[in-house]
Symmetry: C2
């Protein structure tokens, strides 16, 4: 099957250019100047006039099952918000299936063709949960990297002075978790079909060194993405000093956990030395601007990361901390937010840089930079076609800038993943969204009323973090 | 004509409640507990099940003609961005008509029922421009306060050390501008039909004291809203010190310009003493979070304003600095942005506070707090009905929070302004949006290529503001 997209705008070397693009099987075969490629028999021909073709975005960090908690949890700092998240986490396997479908659909319809799902999995039903997630992503057809959240330290250990809190039962041991991960890789890692397993220790704050290093070993053995939360909050920065006496980034480096396959989510509280370490390691920082504001985590030093040569990706984060999974929204905020950190506008992010972060930057972050994120011959055909004549992209002043800085809605006209067309004329071709919305509407969910006003850990948090 | 909305959710005393609402003529007649109002003959009855009814938002600060420049201008600080805006300002009267229509439609379809248009008007064609704007707003049916931008100091005077810049011709004198404003009031101020004139001196930075005080006199004489830009940028703060030796807020207070009818846009660089002055005067600060980030103006001290008892409204600002006129987007960002300015989450804005700012806060800001912005008997029926079953508001965890913190799209099912229904079943009943979009698509507009890479004032700006 060949598809020829004729005379379409795209971004080449940070400038708009009009090109013909030929897709063959699952790959991009040719990119040529507009109106130069001949039409062959049996080719599907798409008129690209007034359209923009970009590599699909990578939603670089999310937690798919939080779809069931979106809108639910008040604005609280991560540590207290998380207590509420745990209290209302869904427990049914089909909720995980629909969570994956919903996350995939929202990502896709806002320009994304790949999701990094740092996935909550039901304790004791990890394999079944993974199966439900994989089924969801395959139903939509999006590329998915699934890194189950694993931790071997109890909840209280994630707080500075957590030893003062009541200690809940410890989760499973590092050895058990690593064995489980090996089984998950064996069963679900399936690159040919666009499903990848990542190793996803929750974060240094809830993981022993044994688990963090063991994950590195798995990442090496199977060439997997290593994905972890890192210094999202001021509390985590304090905890790292308390526990290690050095920064969490240096500690991860000492354990060998920072490689070109590593992506760290947030990094709000990394400093210049940390940036240097992460950049030297060839790792990736995933910026989640909406979530960082929603939880009051702070302003990640993204301009300094880029100046320091650190690869940056963009994520939505889970729907309990960004109550939409819209990549264009995350990209817009990620572009405009950092102006307040640098008075010299020559350092501000351009729309082209933001798109690079969301595409090639994101692809590198999930260890797939050689397959996706770039519109070039030989790359997988993970592409999104935007309708530049949509009212939300008018007038036609600078379409690329308006795509990034406007509030585009319903502008994804077509999308392909590994050459398979998933969206046509703005409609999803794979799953039945009516069934999705019926489920979201009618399954029982936690509501405002079910949320405790004050969680038991709150007074500890206030003592430790605010009464300083 | 009576309309009975039965059994609809609304916000009463910051809590969701289910009510019946009866509209009579242009007013809200009764608000009663759900299913208690009898249906009378000839009433239109609307089933409010799974719907949320809120007072319409006030788009507290925008510049409607910038619709033609959205997406156009790169991210630059206000002073340099403005030079680009001037170079690409539309000059045809019908562009002003369509600019008003587009601004009104986008505001309305995102929950707004009133616009404060701090309007650019064509020099020498001020009356004709005003007529075009009024025609646009009346065509849509939205409530509009139009404050023509007036200034009597040249462009260069808006820069610190502006005397070093080449001096362009001065605009018209204060006396001429005030006479023109009196004529505009006489011709267009029409409260019964929802069209109000405001006095809108551009800002202290481009206005003489004579003009600033003369506007106050007009505001007193006709009871008009006084609307002006104030301390949007660090450069303006420096300019005020250079010119007055005191803060711009104190200067405006000394001139008598701060009254309960005054609303000031931005206030990014106001300090605690300024907040105290503005609050004591009963004035309003209009927060424009998207624009403030897009132009790198900074973080307005909104939490401190609220703590200081200063009324705060929310605006989109013009489409050249917020490339969408979506009130829900501005409200979301205004809600989550300020977490980074205060580590104590108990001070963070709640969704309820944000909605209050966008409704009652905005209504007070345009001097219409006794007519709109509140759902109560006797108030004008400026109301918006949201469909809580729309996919972008699912699942139904906490609908109010998801409306504010999610990314709702196409959720406005119905809207009324002064009792007249403008939107029904998600469709605009008044203007033909196809004609609007045809115009936005086919009228010639400035494009990226027409934008100079470096404006002549740039080196001055860098010298004064960055080489410090």
């Amino acid at each position: 099957m060949q598809t020829l997209i004729q005379s379409v705008l795209t971004l080449q070397n940070d400038a708009l250019a009009s090109v013909d693009v030929l897709l063959t099987g699952d790959r991009i075969h040719t990119v040529a100047p507009a109106n130069t490629l001949p039409v062959a028999p049996h080719q599907r021909v798409i008129d690209g006039t007034d359209r923009l073709l970009l590599p699909g975005f990578v939603n670089g960090h999310t937690h798919s099952s939080q779809v069931w908690q979106r809108g639910l949890i008040p604005q609280l700092p991560l540590e207290l918000w998380l207590a509420n998240v745990f209290d209302s986490t869904p427990g049914q396997l089909d909720q995980f299936y629909w969570g994956a479908v919903s996350t995939a659909v929202d990502t896709l319809m806002s320009g994304g063709t790949c999701v990094m799902d740092h996935a909550y999995v039901i304790p004791g039903q990890e394999i079944e949960t993974m199966a439900a997630l994989v089924r969801g992503y395959k139903a939509v057809g999006i590329r998915a990297v699934i890194a189950p959240l694993i931790q071997d330290l109890p909840f209280a250990s994630g707080f500075p002075k957590g030893c003062l809190l009541p200690q809940s039962a410890s989760p499973r041991s590092a050895a058990e978790l690593l064995a489980m991960m090996a089984a998950i890789v064996a069963e679900f890692h399936d690159p040919d079909n666009g499903i990848y397993i990542g190793v996803g220790p929750t974060g240094f704050h809830r993981c022993s060194d044994e688990l963090l290093a063991g994950c590195r070993e798995l990442s090496d053995r199977y060439q997997l993405c290593y994905h972890t939360h890192l210094l999202e909050t001021r509390a985590q920065k304090r905890l790292a000093q308390e526990r290690y006496g050095i920064s969490a980034v240096q500690h991860l480096q000492n354990l060998g956990c920072l490689t070109p396959r590593t992506s760290v989510a947030h990094g709000v509280w990394i400093d210049e030395k940390d940036i240097e370490i992460l950049a030297s390691a060839g790792s990736t920082l995933v910026h989640n601007p909406v979530s960082n504001l929603r939880l009051g985590s702070g302003l990640a030093p993204i301009l300094k990361c880029l100046q320091g040569g650190l690869n940056v990706a963009i994520g939505c984060d889970g729907a309990a901390s960004n109550d939409a999974q819209n990549m264009l929204e995350a990209i817009k905020l990620g572009t405009i937010l950092h102006t307040v950190t640098d008075s010299d506008y020559e350092n501000w992010l351009t729309p082209e840089q933001a798109l690079h972060m969301a595409t090639a930057g994101g692809a590198k972050g999930v260890n797939l930079g050689d397959r996706t994120g770039t519109l070039a011959p030989g790359m997988d055909a993970d592409l999104v076609l935007y309708n530049l004549d949509h009212p939300s992209l008018l007038p036609r002043t600078n379409s690329l800038q308006l795509l990034v800085l406007g509030r585009p809605t319903d502008v994804v006209e077509a999308a392909w993943v590994q050459g398979r067309q998933l969206v046509d004329q703005g409609r999803l071709l794979t799953v039945d969204t009516t069934a999705l919305h019926h489920n979201l509407r009618h399954q029982p969910v936690a509501t405002k009323e079910s949320q405790a006003q004050h969680h038991p850990v709150e007074s500890h948090y206030r003592d430790v973090m605010l009464n300083r």
